[in-house]
Amino acid sequence: MDATLISDAVIIQNLLVKRGAFALRDIDVRVPTGFVTGVVGPNGAGKTSLIKALLGLIAPDEGTITLFGAEHPGNRAAQQRIGVVLDRVTAMPEWHVGSIGRRIGPLYAEWDEELFRGLLERFEIPADNRVDALSRGQSVKLSLAMALAHRPQLLLLDEPSSGLDPVARRDLADIIREFMVDPSHTVLFSTHITSELDELADHIIVLNDGLVAFAGMLDELHERFAIVRGRPPFPDEARPATIGLRFESSGVYEALIRTEDTARFGPDTVIDAASTDDVVVHFAEHARSARHSARDGGPAAPGKESNR
């Protein structure tokens, strides 16, 4: 796909966000309009920090975030076009579901109470229930109803399917697909469940240890990486080409490699297409080895890939 033809809902440039000992750094990514972008990475990779920075809840230490062409945070017009679904409902636990629209509606310029009521009915959320009496699945659906009722163009979801049963997860995927019928809509969601990415995402950002390991279309991720497996001895000359080299208990080694490096490995190795899961796992492994090497005084250089 020609990247120059795609407009971007979000452009993040050289972002640095420090959170105690952790830092989200050198973040240079774009979220294309009209696509579902998945942010994936292991726990602690920086997914939530990235979403909070996009919302303006964390001030960047360096770099810029551009939202719908306007510098952010600080641009209310751009901010109003975001709908947010976080791990918890943004409502007081004592509120009754049916009263939420009346309470928070005035805070939004384009709140549609009729749409909100309709979504509650469709999602089968009882209006007379208190927020703290809802199940996890109902809470996510309530958050979605609240996010969609002010007609956003960008939907930000932070691990929305975490803790959901398969039926609720399927419902969530259906709602996201329905939202994406409008080509001006964009979704950015974080997850550590890679099967969701394969099912929903067009574009992917792999975060690892606060760095972007890969950013690009999902198809390109599968084209760009491969998995190599073989029996020791491991060819030392091929070591720089590997990402997250692991030795299994059976003695077989496994590593992620870039597809252009396949020629470095001999005929006694097996090279397969890498799944999204493989990429996430091996980048995490690579970062862990790099941390250990740095602690022991050796070189440390986690890989980074980006097509945009």
Partner: protein, 196 residues
């Protein structure tokens, strides 16, 4: 936007956990009926109102309302100014109730109300609320409720100690004597409001 947020904030404070509003106001009245010092409920109301300011921020954390504000049409300056106004509205209601209690109890006890003293109490109440809000709100906005929690007690504690010392050393009007029952009652009330 400021008015919209203030309305939301006051309504949320008053209706989400009504006991948190009713109990402090009830304590103001309780003081009026218990402490035989004309005008004392006015100052006590200001101290109680200063403690309850933190409730707004506690609500923000419990309901993740900061995130709600961040993704709404309300600007951050409107949230900050609106929060100051909400806190002032509650303080005004508490001090107003303290003043009404003073007037009613003075009549019930067949005492004469010294208007200069009552005015002095109102000025003191205004000073207490102003100092507390000026110190507490920036702190809570920066740190949130949980991390900023010690600031609930610090302004009120300092002001209470300063007032007590000033009273005992005769710095204030010597005609006012602190009764033996007044100090423990004040402490119990402040602790009740703090931990409820």
């Amino acid at each position: 936007m400021i008015a919209t947020f203030t309305l939301f904030d006051v309504r949320n404070f008053a209706t989400t956990q009504p006991l948190r509003m009713i109990l402090p106001l009830a304590l103001v009245v309780l003081f009026g009926a218990s402490v035989p010092i004309p005008g004392a409920p006015i100052v006590i109301a200001a101290l109680i109102a200063s403690i309850t300011t933190s409730y707004y921020f506690q609500g923000d954390e419990r309901g993740m309302l900061d995130t709600l504000y961040a993704a709404s049409s309300i600007s951050r300056p409107a949230v900050v100014i609106g929060r100051y106004i909400s806190a002032l509205i509650f303080a005004a209601a508490a001090v107003g109730l303290g003043a009404a209690t003073t007037v009613v109890m003075t009549a019930v006890r067949h005492q004469s109300l010294s208007w200069p003293l009552a005015l002095g109490m109102l000025v003191a109440a205004f000073g207490i609320v102003s100092v507390a809000l000026a110190v507490q709100l920036p702190w809570f906005f920066a740190l949130g409720f949980t991390r900023g929690r010690p600031m609930i007690y610090i302004p009120v504690g300092i002001l209470s100690i300063a007032g007590f010392v000033a009273g005992q050393t005769g710095f204030l009007d010597g005609s006012i004597q602190i009764t033996s029952s007044g100090v423990p009652l004040a402490l119990v009330s402040i602790l009740t409001v703090t931990f409820c």
